[in-house]
Symmetry: C3
């Protein structure tokens, strides 16, 4: 039995760490490191990082055994840098993340199948997989090598999960849907539920919303992480697609036939309505919502809480949030927002009066 | 083993299709159809549909074997319609949906009970039901005929599910709650969790939020579809009610003692706070939120992202979304929103000055 | 087999009820009570309550066997109060809540372990616990006395749940995370999923979002209730903390390293981004969202639907909601919001013209 996140027992020299994570030791090569920590609390066996020059002063006082930073920031320190251990990296934050992964010793796959798991006879489940308790795997489903289903996971008929993916408890992957390689899906997420499509058919005698069968799939590319309690619907006829390298936070809603471009990141509680296409390398803020049938350009940034009501053709940051204020002020200003057309009308009148007055 | 969404093996003649879905063949009755597709990609064995006259030009070029459309749109085509197969319907979109259902051959009930299911001895589970792996059914629960619980479903004590309903994996139906007939509930949805009710009782020495027992039920009517990861709380004393024919998308929050009127549709991530009553045939947009204790008239449309802060007595569309703009523009305009009262004051002064000036 | 929420069989005298819930009988001590009900529908065996003086007139007409109210409100009734049973309490609403608890006879712990439960050999599970079907408890996990895991619950390795807590079906508690004593966690909630942390590392040849290991915990204090389908992420290095006495509604997102102060209440679908600290005794409205790295003062009230984009140092109520209006009006006013800087410019010009005109 292995536990998660065991603190590293073995110290790594700064030189070895630099080599493994893509940096170079400058100054004293003596330091030995056993973990990562913030500048302000790091001890002599910890690596800290500086990615924003405005925290340079914290570097003076840190007790960290080594600090990873950019060449430019090290130069700024000048004489202050003497006698200490520095790791210079082109991307100190990414170096820090890789070092943290190394120290965190994330729990590895433990091949085997819980006695309580329910696996259809014709499902493909390699011996290298870890199948936890109360997992059900439907007929015709296909798992790659070293897939981990950590308990209570439902894999629908004919669904597929790629090599080295980790699926946390209580995830539902509907029939025929696909998760790529090296993905992480957190608990409670649903992939492949029916899209929201109904044709109204009401007459004088009543009627119904006629369900439009959702016969497409939900397809999640390689290296995607999806947080807890997300919902990614299958497509109506074509597929819903999350392209490779995307990262989704918790409680995100992706409607049918949406396409999210590669490497786009989406923060918690955002929602994308049906048939909208989001470009690559976009950043969508928390609780933002995008209307349906839109196109959003690559590298667009949507601020948190923003409602996107039309397509965005030009990259940049976009916002639609009423400014926060004390409630009493809000009552006054919100009332005036309702009267903006009449305010403008009064302004126009005054302008006209002034003009006619001046001309007399 | 049956798979989902098998493509139809058998072709249906246009005439038979028209008869089964409520339309009439006009022009060539030769076509045989095996599925549905969009106008732009349909092949000769596919049915396409035209519901919006602005896509009439696409009809010229479609390779579809048949197109369902309204009589008026067919008339507009005039000579263009010669020699092809048309199906005329009063509601082409609903015809299309019904045809799609027919072709999709949605997976049917497979009566039986997984060995791993846990069914209380006194629960009523007809032989026609399909009970998947790891389903638990509590004491006194009652299922109708042909109910499908597709695995990992929790049916609480004394809860009930009506005939022909389909409950996807990881759904929780709390004790005593009710789902009607022909309902579909997607994965991760919770029905009957406690409403959010607490009485504050704090004094100088501390205190607590005293829980108000939630003794009502959550009651979902017939023909309701509920998407993934929704939460429908039970009522405090009376019930929370979703009336028949409603359609709810994913991640919708329905608080205690809410009533949603028949045939109302609610898009993803919308939330309705406690004791609010929504009328019949309403359309609530995605990520909209309704405050508590409101009444919303029948046939009201709430735009996506809208916060409903007061009751709505008159049908129509309502909106409360700050307009989206580039972030730099937003910074300027949002700052001015905070100053609207002072802008108005300046305008007023100017008006007064102008008046007094003019009168001198 | 016990059922939930059984109506009380035994009537309690008003005098006994007052003694048990913290009040005093005034007027006739004759009444015997078997439940609670609203003023307008209560019968002679029911307790009703008056907490808002504006409903005093309803007290005249109520058929309730007893009414709990404040001394001040009773005095206002004067002669109207003669011959009836009153219970005077400093906090009638809290008295009512406690009485309701007493009558509701909430289902009690039924010690035992379902045959289908999967409990690691070294997990600590006292005999007083109730472990439902399909529960999995990981290695090294520790449950307190009388903990109830009501089925389909996942308790990760080394996680802990305190005495008398109730965990509803389909909850995931990740490895190493902690739930306090007397907590209630509703279905579908996820506690301890990875926080959303990635370091961008992209170059001309491509790149990736490098995952930052989330090695902190999620720690939930005593007496916390968490609704359905919430997501509470574990911290990046330090912990995410929900302090004691908090109450969270459904579908709430708490990001990594957030701290929510004691006794704060959060309504449904609210979201708090990473590293934000919310004070004690705050009230956060439904569908509100807080940006990351903020500090919110104790006793702050955030209106429903509000986006909090900066720290709040001073208690009070804050709002950021565009006022709702008919969609046609919205189109006009929203267009003007985009032009506020030009409106102000026009006003300024007019002011200047006026000044120069006056001075000539």
């Amino acid at each position: 039995m292995t536990s998660w996140n065991t603190p590293a027992e073995v110290l790594v020299s700064a030189v070895e760490l630099a080599a493994r994570c893509g940096g170079e030791v400058v100054g004293s090569p003596e330091g030995s490191l056993g973990g990562v920590a913030p500048l302000e609390s790091a001890g002599p066996d910890k690596l800290a990082f500086l990615s924003n020059p405005k925290y340079l002063s914290q570097v003076h006082d840190t007790g960290a055994g080594a600090v990873v930073l950019s060449r430019a920031d090290l130069d700024k320190l000048g004489a202050d840098s003497d006698g200490r251990t520095w790791i210079v990296s082109a991307n100190p934050y990414a170096f820090f993340a890789r070092a943290a992964q190394l120290f965190a010793k994330v729990r590895e796959v433990q091949p085997g199948r819980a006695a309580s798991a329910h696996v259809a006879p014709d499902a493909v489940v390699p011996d290298s997989c870890e199948i936890g308790p109360f997992v059900s795997i439907g007929a015709g489903a296909v798992l790659g090598e070293r897939v981990r289903l950590l308990g209570h996971v439902h894999i629908g008929e004919g669904a597929a999960v790629g090599d080295d993916s980790v699926i946390h408890p209580h995830v539902s992957l509907y029939h025929g849907c696909v998760i790529g390689k090296r993905c992480i899906v957190h608990s409670g997420t649903v992939i492949g539920s029916d899209g929201f499509g109904f044709a109204p058919d009401f007459g004088p005698k009543g009627g119904e919303w006629v369900k439009i069968p959702q016969t497409g799939r939900a397809v999640v590319g390689d290296d995607v992480e999806i947080g807890a309690n997300c919902s990614i619907d299958r497509g109506a006829m074509a597929d819903t697609v999350i392209e490779p390298g995307c990262k989704l936070d918790n409680q995100i809603q992706i409607a049918h036939n949406v396409r999210v471009g590669a490497f786009t990141v989406i923060a918690g509680c955002a929602a994308i309505a049906g048939s909208t296409t989001v470009g690559k390398f976009c950043m969508i803020g928390g609780s933002a919502n995008l209307a349906g049938h839109l196109t959003v350009a690559d590298k667009t940034i949507i601020s948190g809480g923003t409602s996107v009501t039309k397509s965005i053709a030009k990259p940049g940051q976009y916002t639609s949030v009423f400014p926060i204020m004390p409630h009493g002020d809000w009552e006054k200003n919100a009332a005036l927002v309702r009267q903006l057309s009449s305010l403008r009308e009064r302004l126009r009148k005054l302008e006209n009066l002034f003009k006619s007055n001046s001309s007399t």
